[in-house]
């Protein structure tokens, strides 16, 4: 979106009614899916309808002033417009996510979103390759769902420490995606091995685009493959955030855009960026 359009849109918004992107939802369920990840379903009217794969919500994890000061960004893991539900899949990690893990059905949840630029799927693509490591799968899951709904072929490489840590294999298979689990345990997630795997899939399957999320090592590898094979690709980037809505400039990273190194805000210009714009010195 150009600067000018942004200004015009903001003025418009100011003149008319205010968006309902800050809402209090109600937790429907919040269950462990393994010993580290939880799956939370939140009912909140109107937001599932406008959420795109790759977008995120900014969640207030504590209650009132108890808990960490800042919100925590979480990707939309699933949107269910018919039930007005948004799903999150999250790693219970530090103070924020531990508080989130304590929410029970019926509890309120203060959320801001959907935020950021999501993935884009070109209607001319027929086959896409998705590489997800660990909880990164949460960010990529709605992309796989939409791609399958548009009848694209989807190859999904799921990487994790052990076979038990692999998440979503059944879910993706049920959507009709081809799932390839790789693990640290048997060495198949090793970067070089994985790269051969990716290249083999790309070569045999007429892949049109590559997608990934989070992990710096995976992203670099995929970016290199994409550039070598002349394929487009997209990555959902993670960065520490304060506001999540483009005001604080705290989440910027250097990207290579239009031949120049520029600071872009992960929350606003991202979190999804073209693979070729990613810079890892």
């Amino acid at each position: 979106m150009s600067q000018r359009t942004e200004v015009r849109r903001a003025i418009e918004v100011e003149r008319q009614a205010i968006d309902v992107r800050q809402a209090i939802g109600v937790v429907v369920s919040n269950d462990w899916v393994n010993d580290r990840y939880k799956h939370m379903t939140v009912c909140v009217p109107g937001l599932a309808q406008v959420s795109q794969p790759g977008q995120f919500f900014h969640l207030l994890c504590g209650v009132a002033s108890a808990g960490p000061l800042l919100r925590r960004p979480m990707s939309v893991y699933k949107m269910d417009p018919l039930r007005n539900e948004i799903h999150f899949l999250y790693h219970v990690k530090g103070e924020g996510t531990q508080l989130l893990a304590q929410r029970q059905g019926g509890d309120p949840l203060d959320l801001v979103g959907p935020l950021g630029q999501g993935f884009t799927l070109n209607s001319r693509w027929h086959r896409v390759l998705v590489v997800a490591r660990g909880v990164g799968m949460a960010t990529l899951a709605p992309l796989v769902a939409v791609a399958r709904r548009r009848e694209m072929a989807v190859d999904v490489i799921l990487s994790a420490r052990t076979p038990r840590d692999i998440l979503g294999a059944r879910e993706f298979a049920a959507m009709g995606a081809h799932v390839f689990p790789v693990t640290d345990e048997d060495g198949s997630s090793d970067l070089a091995t994985l790269q051969s795997r990716v290249e083999a899939l790309v070569d045999q399957g007429q892949t049109d685009a590559l997608f990934t999320c989070g992990s710096a090592r995976l992203t670099r590898m995929l970016r290199d493959v994409a550039i070598r094979r002349g394929l487009p690709g997209q990555v959902a980037v993670e960065e520490h955030m304060a506001c999540g809505i483009g005001m604080c400039q705290g989440c910027t990273r250097v990207f290579r855009r239009d031949g120049k190194d520029v600071h872009l805000r992960v929350c606003q210009e991202g979190p999804v960026f073209p693979l070729e714009e990613v810079v890892y010195p």
Binding site: I11, D19, C243, T252
Partner: protein, 316 residues
């Protein structure tokens, strides 16, 4: 019933209410969450003459009840600011106060005279207190003489209201505030962030790309409130209090300590509707306490105790 009068006056500028965003914690996207015209004023992120990239990442670290930032002053430069950003604000009625930042007094003055020509600009906040620009967090506002020198130059360059944004990293905030007043500032903004740091014990490295950064948020409120109280006893120009406000109660503490208006910073990140909630809570307090104007409580905690209060206090 009609509510209490929330309007306050800073220099010759009358604000509809005493609540505005703190520099660097607000920009255009907030219009998607609140009506900006509901605020008392709008202060922008500090802008510079030239284009600047800001600091390297990570730029943020969370601390107990605080936020550590080392954004620096990424800036598109004043010309692009005029061309691309000002049109947005021209469509609003709320007064716009750009915050300006520079490395020298002359550059500050140059910025002031450039911006003065823009009719949408209703005043200038002079950020002489950013702890990230120079060595070891030093800034003009750590020193009364430097403060006088810079504010004087800005004062001579413009007839716009001039607000001097002070630093809490000085031990002489009162002297610095007096220097700003003598130099002709219409108000002092107390204060910017406290110089601070955090270390990642796993990597054994500072958490911020810039090593040190500025601490904001509820953690610093008691410190800045004390400074407002001290400054209020010394200066005659209005004070704008800023530091850790996240409720009407916090804002009222600042007003009672002697601030005429307040700014909300970090809390905008937590609650995009926060400033509107603060205004509503203030109105509610004033009505509950039978005040017809917010001005009745400004400086209320400064006056010595009356005999009756003294008695009530110790007996309670």
């Amino acid at each position: 019933m009609t509510g209490a009068d929330l309007s306050v006056q800073i220099g010759n500028l009358i604000l509809n209410n005493p609540v505005m965003p703190a520099s660097g914690t607000f920009s255009e996207p907030l219009a998607e969450f609140i009506h900006l015209n509901d605020l008392g004023a709008l202060v922008t992120k500090s802008i510079t003459l030239d284009v600047r990239e800001g600091n390297s990442s990570p730029r943020l670290a969370e601390t107990p009840a605080g936020l550590l930032n080392a954004i620096g002053i990424p800036s598109k430069g004043v010309q692009k600011f005029i061309a691309e950003t000002l049109p947005f604000y021209a469509a609003l009625t709320v007064p716009l106060i750009p915050s300006i930042s520079a490395d020298t007094g002359d550059d500050f003055a140059r910025l002031a005279s450039i911006l003065e020509k823009q009719s949408v600009v209703r005043g200038l906040e002079v950020n002489i207190s950013c702890p990230n620009l120079e060595d070891d967090g030093k800034s003009f506002a750590m020193d009364a003489e430097q403060t006088y020198r810079v504010i004087r130059k800005v004062r001579q360059a413009t007839s716009l209201p001039v607000w001097a944004k002070l630093s809490p990293n000085t031990q002489s905030v009162v002297e610095v505030a007096l220097a700003a007043q003598t130099a002709g500032a219409d108000a002092v903004v107390v204060a910017n962030t406290l110089l601070a740091m955090a270390i990642d014990v796993e990597t054994r490295r500072p958490k911020l790309g810039n090593v040190t950064g500025g601490l904001s948020g509820p953690a610093i409120k008691p410190i800045i409130l004390r400074m407002v109280y001290q400054v209020a006893k010394a200066v005659s120009i209005p004070i704008i209090g800023v530091g850790g406000i996240r409720s009407a109660q916090d804002a009222l503490e600042y007003l009672m300590a002697g601030a005429t208006a307040i700014q909300v910073g970090t809390y905008n990140f937590v609650n995009p509707r926060g400033m509107v909630d603060v205004i509503a809570g203030m109105q509610d307090y004033l009505q509950r306490h039978g005040c017809s104007s917010v001005r009745e409580i400004i400086g209320a905690a400064l006056s010595p105790l009356t005999g009756a209060e003294e008695k009530q206090k110790t007996a309670g």
